[in-house]
Amino acid sequence: MKLIIVNDYDKASEWAAKYIRNRITKFSPGPDKYFTLGLPTGSTPLGCYKKLIEFYKKGEISFQYVKTFNMDEYVGLPRDHPESYHSFMWNNFFKHIDIRAENAHILDGNAADLPQECQAFEDKIKSAGGIELFVGGIGPDGHIAFNEPGSSLVSRTRVKTLAMDTILANARFFDGDLSKVPTMALTVGVGTVMDAREVMILITGAHKAFALYKAIEEGVNHMWTVSAFQQHPQTIFVCDEDATQELRVKTVKYFKGMMHYHNTLVDQ
């Protein structure tokens, strides 16, 4: 595991975006060799997307031969609803870059047969050759995608009923009206993300500090699903100073001591 500690949110976003840029570039994707990228939604990755768009506009990167797979989507929310993850991805990323629609995969929360949609998503990942780099964020309770506390650590893509905490937290995006908040979602499983060849988790802000502590300093535990990645051979946590507040000084010092090397990973 690598733990990248930088000063603030902007620096963390930039670091993550540069890392993605370099991974794609070194992979040298082409018509017969697509780079497969797993993507999150939410406020944490916004800065990273902005940076990637900037790199695209400067001509440093192209998404022409990149296939993306998003982590999750609400069930029953119209696709063009401003809070749908389709809208999020379109407005914050896809419309700004050169990705082709047929290469951008997002679960369809309005599919007639939801379990079948989930299975099809797993199949699509498999036929794309698996995911090269899965980028994720986490919730303050340590959930990755919609794999909330108690989710199986070997779970696959499936229909998930949302925890009341999550529904309450989401109400602010739906005029504060609980009845409008979706109560179910489709989500990749912890196992689905674990299958990626590399996983990068972004964790920023003091409110995520306890989750980061649970993720890396305590044992693997399905009540903190992100902790599963302790068992993954290639995981990078990218965090800001605020998110390290619950870590031991020893841990922080150890990883900061390696930043001189880790930073070479994002050199152009």
Binding site: D80, N91, K95, R100, A101, E102
Partner: protein
Amino acid sequence: MPSNKSVSDAPITQFINCRILRDHKIQREDLWVREGKILDPEKLFFDEQGFADQRIDCNNKIIAPGFIDVQINGGYGVDFSQASSDISGGVSLVGKKILEHGVTSFCPTLVTSPPSVYHQVIPQIKVQNGGPHGAGVIGVHLEGPFISEEKRGAHPPKFLRSFKAGGVADLMETYGPLDNVAVVTLAPELENSGPVIQELARRGITVSVGHSMADLSQAEEAVIQGASFITHLFNAMLPFHHRDPGVVGLLTSEKVSQGRRVFYGMIADGIHTHPAALRIAHRAHPTGLVLVTDAVTAMGLPAGRHTLGQQEIDIQGLHAYVAGTNTLSGSIATMDMCVRHFRQATGCSVEDALEAASLRPAELLRLNHRKGTLDFNTDADFVVLDDALVVQETYIAGEQVWKK
């Protein structure tokens, strides 16, 4: 083909690197066009997995909806009110030339004329879509002859008429078939105007109050009957008076019921309306302001002396005078000039200035579901402007019809 053939295989154009006027804001957004309509790229992406066939770099320019001029009497030597042998040729000439001013649709306007002229001219000014041949014709604007003698302005008095036969009959007798008519300006204080206004409104024709001695209550009555526009506010009406604000009072009238809006035309050429008056109107009722040129025959002609019909005129700068006098012979303003002057004189936002020439006239004519905006699925009629609001390019139905 990139697009889903089950929907359409027509080519898709993406205008990039531009700022577009949408939802009353200039915003950094691309504009997508297919089959002459503005396309929702998100739907294209997710539903059709489509993408653009062609990308046009706008170099950071502004894209606004095409301008709509609801009052233009002619230009480039053409007078729409003259029953010449080639009326449609004259309309076509002006329609083509005003593309340069960003005008993509217009209402050729006839001033007070004898019935024979209406019967001859109106059927020849066909409602038609715009294109490389010129701006679209929305319909004719008939300004007169049912107007006030005192406030007739330059309209010839001998052709003025009243509704002496009861109203609707006078209308039909004077104009003939109304199929090509979009707007009628009349004076509501004329006896029997009520049924006329109702009948016109019933037919979907916009009724405008103008060239009128009406007091406020008469003007309000006209609005209740169905009138929705004021022809060149302040001009050819009673001046504003604080105990009877007259037609001008409609801007803040409480009798105009909820959900209805009175629009008013403004000649923002810096000559026909004082900037202070422009500001008063705009601040009192910003969402009703419709920029009109009210341009006459001399618009578009070079400086110097011209013979137009029976009249000699001198063009000096932005003024057109009856030759040898100081009498103004009408507006020679162009729409793009009016937009710039309006913005500068009122200090309004760029958005307001552009919408006064596009969204507002479209709303007035109830065409805003397909014109006057850059909303998805509306007609791709638009102008490309620089930051000084100088028109660089004009598009109709997604096709470039003029370029600077």
